[in-house]
């Protein structure tokens, strides 16, 4: 990446694409996306981060509610976008399409992934998919108090090491862990923390071989694309949206 050499902490988001998605980034230094499964207390985290500085509307042309807000940290204006809560990014529901397109084409500077600490196995399904698309993410283990009440704790160091991204324990309803989340997000945005996200390994051998083969071809055609492997998987799955995006040349910039 050439940008890294020229400016170590510049925003990397794709402002042109973001504008198309209805987000004006003129007044913000960094764009932060908030993703996660439904029922993980995502909106509580959103409220804890932005306070009352938020407004709701719809995604352009869609009937999905969008909340956006902002906060300041160390003289940087952060713009926070609440993505629809989804179980996955692989199906083709409106919600998932929005969340996926935002991360894929909008390229937020940081994606915060909210996870229900008592149900991480199930939540990791979405986390691993997001980490295939973006390499700038922070995992927020929310509802920690509830998990502890049910005698479940998480070894966040191991989890962070496994996933290759910073992990922060939170209990948003009690405002616990929010300040740590804010500073971690800032460090990732400033590239003081460089993520090395986990890549899916569990595919069957023949499937893995096909993905690698296609991935190689994509990387040859689009050098420097960070999520070529994910695109390969989507092409094998005949994802009509991704095929269309390829034909439109949406992957060329950046």
């Amino acid at each position: 990446m050439t940008e890294l050499e020229s400016c170590d902490s510049c925003a990397l988001n794709n402002s042109a694409q973001l504008l198309k998605l209805g987000i004006n980034v003129e007044n913000a230094d960094y764009v932060i996306a908030l993703a996660g499964n439904p029922n993980t207390g995502k909106s509580t985290v959103f409220n804890a981060l932005t306070g009352l500085k938020q407004h709701t509307g719809n995604w352009p042309g869609k009937t999905v509610t969008r909340a956006e807000g902002g906060y300041r940290f160390k003289d940087h204006k952060m713009k926070l976008i609440d993505l629809p809560g989804t179980y996955s990014l692989l199906s083709t529901s409106q919600d998932e399409e929005i969340a996926r397109n935002f991360i894929l084409f909008g390229k937020p500077d940081v994606t915060i992934i909210i996870v229900d600490a008592a149900r991480i196995e199930r939540n990791l399904n979405l986390v691993l998919q997001i980490l295939e698309i973006t390499d700038r993410a922070v995992l927020c283990l929310n509802l920690m108090d509830e998990a502890l009440r049910h005698h479940i704790d998480i070894d966040e160091r191991t989890l962070g090491k496994e996933l290759g991204i910073p992990v922060v324990k939170c209990s948003a309803i009690k405002k616990q862990g929010i300040s740590e989340l804010i500073s971690t997000v800032h460090q990732v945005a400033m590239r003081q923390i460089i993520c090395k996200p986990y890549r899916i390994k569990g595919l069957s051998k023949p499937a893995q071989k096909m993905v690698d083969k296609l991935d190689k071809k994509i990387r040859k055609n689009y050098p420097g694309l960070p999520n070529s492997r994910w695109i390969a998987m989507r092409l094998l799955d005949a994802d009509a949206d991704i095929i269309k995006a390829l034909k439109n040349g949406d992957f060329i910039n950046h």
Binding site: N39, T44, L124, V127, H150, H151, E162, I200, A207
Partner: protein, 471 residues
């Protein structure tokens, strides 16, 4: 990149797809979950004995049980509706007296002092302003009570259980259990009910819920029902029973609405919508204490104010039109009177009359202004008052209203049919606009708007014919 390269890439992809088999999606998801299980196993620490979700299980067993599930549900819903209707009375009255009794005369005096011509004064203050004032004072309080309570139940986790309990009932008519929630939301406000259908993630069932939401008797229609039932049905029995009979009649209309919801849902799923994709999956999240203040704030902003704003945008021009048709004269007759005469024959055919039909045409922005418009048009039509035409009003007592309506030629049949038509007619313009926003389809918007009117005419027509068989 060259087009040829892209084509090559896609060709390679489909070639490999043939090799890997058609269920690559399964392979992919299984692979991701395998990794997830692996990571979870490494990082989850169980502290001592696992603590099962005993409290939640017990609560669920009660809330979804055959014995207690339905009674609890009905109890909670009744409490919410009662709180909404009763609790809204006082603030509604306050707002109304502020806007209509306090501010209106001041504005009128101010206008005459400034020297506004009578027509501009009438158009702006008697037309636009009065309609706005009316809409705000009757719509705002109930919504501000209903929506936060609903959101609190949603955040607590109770609403998915309601959907779970009622799903088998809704499934029979091809609908989703969550439609129970949007239907109840519709009793607050149809526009909000339509927005609430976003919780239904299955496309077919969502369309069904949107189209049939209008059969939920909304907040703006309850007062009409209660007033007409008191005047025409309550009067059939001695005074001591009249309130009970009138209430039974109104409840029956609401139940009839539910009946029509099921019937039309079933017909839609069997005909027009049978090709839409249908998926069902309902997560029953753990019970969690709701965040009171955030809920109050967001439900006020997200739901109440947005709906109110839309209603105001539509009410203002309607107020203007109501004033105009009452004050523009052709051949010594106001436009309103000409239209009423013209529509009267048609109206009688359905056991209604010209005044009611015209009121429903001009009061399309909000059901709340139907009764004031009917009263105003009746007075204008009977030529009871010369001045002040085009001014909506409500009478102090039910007796006065009854006397006026009887003078306008209303019978028991008119009353019954008005109650039916109030249930079965086009959604208000706020709801129509919302339906378009939610479906992005003119076809479904038009269908959802026209179908209930046709149904309304059909039902009132049949009632009238049957009535005539016995009279």
């Amino acid at each position: 990149m060259e087009n040829k390269d892209i084509q090559d890439l896609l060709d390679l992809a489909s070639e490999l797809r043939w090799e890997v088999g058609e269920n690559f999606h399964d392979t992919l998801v299984e692979g991701i979950y395998a990794d997830a299980a692996h990571i979870a196993q490494k990082t989850e620490i169980k502290i001592g004995e696992p603590n099962p979700y005993n409290f939640e299980r017990k609560l669920d067993q009660v809330l979804t049980s055959k014995k207690y599930g339905f009674p609890i549900m009905i109890l909670i819903l009744s409490i919410i509706l009662w709180l909404t209707i009763q609790g809204a009375n006082y603030p509604s009255g306050l707002l109304a007296s502020f806007f209509l009794e306090f501010l209106h005369p001041i504005l009128k005096t101010g206008a005459s002092q400034v020297g506004l011509p009578w027509w501009l004064d009438g158009f702006l203050i008697d037309g636009v302003y009065l309609a706005l004032g009316w809409v705000i004072s009757v719509m705002l309080p109930p919504m501000a009570i209903f929506f936060p309570m609903f959101t609190l139940l949603e955040d607590f986790g109770y609403l998915p259980r309601v959907a779970f309990n009622l799903d088998s009932l809704f499934k029979k008519s091809g609908a989703h259990g969550k439609q129970a929630l949007t239907m109840s939301m519709g009793w607050g406000c149809n526009a909000a009910g339509v927005v609430a259908t976003r919780i239904i993630d299955s496309p077919r069932e969502r369309l069904i819920a949107i189209i049939t939401n209008n059969f939920s008797l909304c907040n703006g229609r309850w007062p009409t029902q209660i007033l007409i039932a008191t005047i025409f049905i309550g009067a059939l029995v001695p005074d001591s029973f009249s309130t009970i009979l009138a209430s039974i009649a109104v409840i029956n209309i609401a139940l009839l609405g539910i009946g029509f919801t099921f019937l039309s849902s079933w017909m839609l799923s069997k005909t027009l919508l049978k090709g839409e994709v249908s998926t069902f999956a309902l997560e029953l999240p753990p019970y969690r204490p709701p965040n009171l203040w955030t809920t109050l704030y967001t439900s006020l902003i997200d739901r109440t104010l947005i709906v109110l704003w839309r209603a105001m945008v539509f009410a203002a021009p309607a107020g203007a039109i109501i004033w105009l048709i009452s004050n523009i004269y052709v051949d010594n007759l106001s436009l309103a009177n000409i239209t009423i005469d013209w529509m009267d024959g048609f109206g009688l055919f359905f056991g209604l009359n010209g005044v009611i039909l015209l009121a429903y045409v001009v009061a399309i922005p909000a059901n709340e202004i139907v009764i004031p418009t009917i009263l105003m048009l009746t007075v204008a039509h009977l030529n009871l008052m010369g001045a002040g035409d085009g001014v909506m009003f409500e009478l102090e007592s039910t007796t006065e209203t009854a006397a006026l309506l009887h003078a306008g030629g209303w019978t028991l049949l008119t009353g019954i049919n008005l109650m039916l038509f109030s249930l079965l007619h086009n959604p208000c313009s706020t709801t129509i606009y919302t339906i378009y926003q939610e479906t992005k389809s003119w076809k479904w918007t038009a269908f959802a708007s026209i179908m209930p009117v046709i149904l309304g005419f059909l039902v009132t027509f049949l009632v009238t014919q049957i009535w005539q068989l016995f009279h």
